[in-house]
Symmetry: D2
Subunit: 508 residues, 4 copies
């Protein structure tokens, strides 16, 4: 942590002085594998490229236009055809969605205001690959306002909101994405973003690592001009650490997935609400008095447990980590092995990031009408494959709800086929996406403006000071008034009045 | 974090293999000052050498024996006089207290059992300087059972339980401590522990750094044989980092204050209960409907806020750190500046570690009967000195409760003269002390058994694996059943089945 | 259940005197206080005949068959045509819905089992007028199993589930109902239930009083054979008290709306969950940190406040009743006048049963994006009419969600046009409907079997013992084990071991 | 307050018929259900004449003056000797206590202010028999300010605060009470209050019924002039109902024990806090993670469960009443029989009002160190007598804490020997006592001013409007702002704008 004393050269974007010093708080990850175990502990909202998106419904697609966007000739009102979307005519509807999202993304709007004088991303050529939603659009247009040029593809073949893509294309963003891409389409879109005559990206914003992977594979020379990669997904971060470990990471990369603020919102605060929403929308069940077992007491598990307890459920917890286990005890939950309660519970929720936490054996022992769902990582936690056997009957009773029926008539209620409940059967609030998008924007600014040598060919966490800045940009939403240290107090505490306020190991 | 791959040589104490590898998770702190800012963020239960101890009442001292223990000739029943306590005859009463404490310190008792075969501290000569209470006695006797010889002094001139000291002396421990030592007595007792013919310590267990300081000053050569220092207080840890920074730390030291488990219990879990207890015992107030402002939303503040909210108080929070501020918002507390609510609140609680958080100006504006107290660090948070002016009248209405009366008749109710409420007006549960004592015992074992070179002349955090071990030893208290990873799962997660289960940056 | 048959003397249920005189507390509109006041304090789930029903979606109606059911010739598989439903062919789908509902209505199923020997409703001819849903079907088939003959119409022109109606018709119930009846259809259906050759009802089960009204108006002589009316809605109960007061009630009637168990579930427990569900489904908002004002702290308000507080919202309460106001204080909510917080809150929720609680003036002062909704009674609480003025623009952004836009661009988000959020934008859990249906069934049994003279031509509350019985039938759902009094204890307490366990004024 | 004078016809408070007949529901031991049952459901704070009073410590009695106050000659500074207290010289200290209490009894102070013009108790001669504490003193002096003359004795031989009694005597109140009266003293004091030349009481304020009993027995003629009795204890109320039933009640009496506001505070709000306080002060235990069984889910049980759940305990509930049982389920507690959990719990708490809820058999099966205590009624709930057998050893480890030791070494920790924990080991907050005292004052005003015929020789509940008034007088403490109905709203609801706002059966 000696870096705090560092002297840092210059930085564009006239953020308060303190921002200049961010790089010094770097946390190195390059020397060892951040094993997948690390991956398992968090659960990025954007990670799941095969999950369905309940919120990603397309609002205006009524008639099914079966022509592939790749085969269409479209131009926006300014005559540009440097984009590929489903239907440029949906732009107006998409614009309204973007405007609504802007109202709930105050931090990005604040960044835009601050950028009216200076342009911290002037000269930046950003290629991005993320979900394409109204919130992403607000991010992209913010990056534009900060001076950047952007080209964009989707990181998921289903998640694109066609209207939003149309609105972006209409306002001049080269966007290549539509809902329901084929695998081939997917890579074609990415390629159209980077393989452009007369334009070469110098920054990458990735979500899942596919874009980064593509450039590595197809255009490795491009990295010579690239100043850095910002990656927000668990999977993508994992890939970057692997590259780094293998000595193949040739530019600095920033892991924004593990930022404090983003983590708390993606996991604890978001799941505290979405567990209730996901269960209610799919089953209309009542929570009061229900017995629930939550597997895993990380941030996601903590959120689920708190919400269900508050609604009058009786909650049991399973854990493998004794420290988290002790936390569960002190928070008032009985710590059990799954086998101990599997016969009696009404709901089983997995939040472990592990695989086969709920096995066929467990499923066999559950009582009739038991609800089983996954809030954790990917779709491995419940051994859904084990249920696809001839003696069991599957009955789809609603969208995202299957009854799996045993020969004796017992049914279990499986939600989202074991995929992530909160993505499949609930929505991610704009405010959470605002945290993520702001984190991404600040990481891009930092990497782009960092003086030579601050970042090496390695994976970094977002400097704590910027993490704090993300948080502070969101406080006005709550009409929250931060206290400032007096000079005397700052001296007493040995802190800079502008932060960072905590040591790196602080646990919040 | 490359250390995880390390190959570690041998270690005594047949703990599961994994324990052997602890040292690799070392966390270096030596290269930069851990400024007092860091100190301010935690609040060790043992830190305060001048705080009064409500729980440290002496049970049997009825008649006041005014003779100084130093002037008395006392022998225990085995004829030894290598101790100095108030009254060896109180041993029986103290023994009962120790026995009661044993029942609530299951982890140490478990360690004793495991040590029946091997003696991980065989040959260890430990000199200790801590509060001398029934819980410390259980620790000392555990260290003895693990093979160590111990000599002990008190780290606070008021906190010794004379009966317990007597019981320890009676059972053969050279203890030098009594309640109400003079400054001179204090150092005399410490000296008697280390300045012994034919016995030289090879391990130090310190609480506050006074013992370490004394040896540095008086017997620097003694460090040649010392294998390590274990320090649990904020202040002592701060001193060690200063020594380290100055290049003067000549043995490895372990900072057990910042262990995850200990921190959670000392701060969050303990204060969640003691804020209620401290307020109730001193004021008999009702919590329901009261307006409270809590300054600081770290672990202590979080505990205070949660408890008071649950009791029906309306809680406001002040913060300087935007991340903690955002947490307060998401937990349902209005984030304000102190000035905004100072006129309306019924209670003001400081939990910042900062100084002059509550100023005379604030105190002037409080309403009549407002209660003011400190749960934070030391006694600096409330500017009590500013109240010692001629125009204000102080009235002591109960032990630890003063009314400070303004000329217009307004009274504020000041608790413990601004010192720590939870130490002055409440008690620390044995279970919390058990966590601390177990952490200390494992740190001693680790440092004593570490192979040459694992630890350098630096300050280390307790390896995460041992932190997890402390937690696991306390799970049986709650009849809590930990789940074990299958081989397949461990492989999937890239984890050792025995832990550690989390990366070092994990925030719990 | 043997008590139900009441061979225990004249007053089988030990109802205190006052119960018989309950009618004296009848509710008039004009002459004395606390009448509609009473109505305003509860909020029956079934009351609202004009509210839309989110859960009442028809599952199988894809093609729009425009022929009126009255013009169709339909027969069920046994050849009967004594019914009128949308499409008898949908019976199979409806049957599955009924079977699913059966699994969550354990109390009715338990009644069926107990009725295998005795038939407490043997000879009963029940005419019913309620919402026709899967849960109602379970009730009807239970009444059938208990020995009754039933004929049924819908109490709401929109709420009929056509498939369920078909399933009931298929299994032999004369049902006259479909989704989307005209006013004329509505009365025609009711008439078809009562105006039958060779069949005359002797019991009425009503929800809203329309059936009762029709018989009064058209077939007053029918009351000679009718043993009683069971009414569950606020409105229907109100009408009965009016009849009673006017001396026109010619049979005993039972007010099951005010039963303890039903009230708690309809209001407190149901709304604690549906407030979150209703807000989430319509707005996808995040609750954490939001400022909310809840108008009214009755059961509904208490449920809303508890849920939102638990989700991290900051909740303010308004009240007119000082006792409820003091409860709000002790539960940790600031008690304010609406004007004090109207500018700062993010959400306004009405739960008063009153009218014009939120006025145009309040609406004018709300901040941009403020959400306004009603959980109370009817659609009078928010003065929605005042928003239908030329200077304001209404924009329907989703089903049940309108943006009302001020000239300066400010938008407020109005949910369900001020109608009941929990009925319009959420669902009523089957478990809550099970409580209601069980209460109705027991009330029918009681009235039908009551010995001559127990009930006069008046309105009664369900005997407490039966209220307790409703509760006890639902305990097995939670694997809850009730303790039984010993003889000695019952004697000590002066209680019958089988209840009732509380005096009638007990407040739960 | 003008409503209190009620020129609103015969039944000013629109009490329903049944209220007048309330006496019929009187509480007997043998003859009909729901009598003592009633008693068991509430738990008056003042009921227990043999419970010790932790808060009733005498502040200034250091030297033990063994002379009986009856043998002393004392005069106050005005020369009066019409009192009998321990030591008139302690008056100054007592006065300060009274002044402190005044600050927390805003409702009585408000009544004093309102009484500056009118004197609603002018001419009233009140004889009182209650605990004599600072709070009672505030009540007495308020009654004085309202125009009454008072004479006062203690209702408990231990609970008198001598300094307060001295202060009252000094300011001219004829008080006859001291801490540590003998049985003979007790009745002598009461007699001195009523047996006075030239002064005859016309109102009685009683707590326990002893004063009423004494007058019945010794001075029955006195009732000719007495306008009414106000009684606040469960026991006293029970006695009044017995008198009434026997036709021997010769004046109106008001049962203030069952007032809504008083009940909520005495039971729910008070116990929610005192359960934690009582356990903490006696055992210093930590609540987090502890398993607790609470017997009984009435108001007291609800308070205990809510508090412990909030502190992280795992709480089980036992119940005999299915409605309360269902409430426990919906609030998230597992409903069990005591036997199911007795082996595993760390704490057993009784709140039933029943007897032998915890039997010797249960005690035999508890685990080592289990804590057993009673929050319910009287000292019958735990079969303490069964523990007084030769094979068990009792060890007093602290005041109010006994270890009962089984032959095999198992200990259970019995608090307060099974008497009420919250009275024995905690304190009753002044605010709760303020509610009670205000209720008493208003009841006295009502009875004293009621027009002829409003009250007959029967037992009444406090009119709801006055209950609401008690609440409203306490709202300013919380800076709580009540909303007023508009004329239009009042008309819509059929309510008087000044209340009462609820029907009598409303459950709050």
């Amino acid at each position: 942590m000696e870096q705090l004393d560092g002297n840092e050269g210059t930085s564009a974007f006239h953020m308060p002085e303190w921002m200049i010093q961010f790089a010094d708080q770097k946390q190195e990850f390059n020397k060892r594998p951040t094993k997948i175990g690390r991956r398992s502990l968090s659960r990025s909202i954007s990670q799941s490229s095969t999950d369905s998106y309940s919120s990603a419904a397309s609002y205006t697609d009524s008639s099914d236009d079966e022509t592939s966007p790749r085969d269409k000739q479209q131009k926006n009102s300014k005559g540009s055809s440097d984009f590929c979307v489903k239907n440029i005519k949906q732009a107006e509807f998409g614009r309204r969605e973007i405007e609504i999202a802007e109202q709930e993304m105050p931090a990005l709007m604040a960044l835009r205001k601050r950028a009216q004088g200076e342009k911290p991303l002037a000269g930046a050529k950003i290629v991005g690959c993320t979900h394409i939603t109204a919130q992403t659009a607000v991010l992209m247009e913010t990056l534009g306002a900060l001076g950047a040029q952007c080209r964009w593809a989707a990181c998921n073949i289903y998640s694109t909101l066609n209207e939003v893509a149309a609105a972006l294309a209409e306002s001049g963003f080269p966007v290549f994405a539509w809902k329901g891409e084929s695998e081939d389409d997917f890579w074609w879109c990415i390629d159209r973003c980077v393989n452009v005559e007369g334009w070469q990206p110098n920054m990458i914003l990735d979500d899942g690592g596919d874009l980064t992977h593509w450039i590595y594979k197809k255009y490795p020379n491009m990295f010579k001009k690239i100043k850095g990669i910002v990656e927000e997904s668990v999977t993508g971060v994992h890939r970057l650490y692997q590259l780094s470990k293998a000595g193949k990471l040739c530019v600095p990369a920033m892991n924004v997935n593990d930022s404090v603020t983003k983590q708390k919102f993606d996991n604890l605060y978001c799941c505290r609400e979405s567990i209730l929403d996901g269960l209610k929308r799919t089953t209309d069940m009542m929570f009061g008095g229900k017995q629930v077992v939550v597997c895993g007491y990380g941030e996601v598990g903590k959120g689920c447990c708190a919400a269900l307890k508050a609604m009058g459920s009786i909650v049991y917890v399973t854990e493998i980590d004794p420290i988290c286990a002790l936390q569960a005890c002190m928070d008032g939950f009985r710590l059990v092995k799954l086998n101990e309660v599997i016969r009696q519970v009404d709901i089983v929720i997995t939040c472990t990031g592990n695989k086969n936490v709920v096995t066929r054996e467990h499923l066999d022992r559950m009582k009739n009408s038991c609800i089983v769902c996954n809030m954790g990582h990917s779709n491995t936690e419940i051994d859904v494959a084990s249920l696809r056997t001839p003696e069991l009957t599957w009955e789809r009773v609603r969208s995202q709800v299957d009854h799996v029926i045993w020969p004796d008539g017992k049914r279990i209620v499986l939600l989202a086929e074991g995929r992530l409940l909160n993505l499949s059967c609930s929505t991610v609030p704009t405010f959470v996406l605002s945290i993520t998008a702001t984190t991404q924007a600040l990481a891009l600014i930092e990497l782009y403006n960092a003086p030579e040598g601050r970042y090496k060919q390695d994976v970094y966490l977002l400097p704590k000071k910027m993490d704090e800045y993300v948080a502070s940009l969101h406080l006005p939403t709550f009409d929250a008034h931060l206290t400032e240290l007096t000079d005397e107090q700052a001296k007493y505490l040995g802190l800079n009045k502008n932060g960072p306020f905590k040591p790196n190991y602080y646990r919040y």
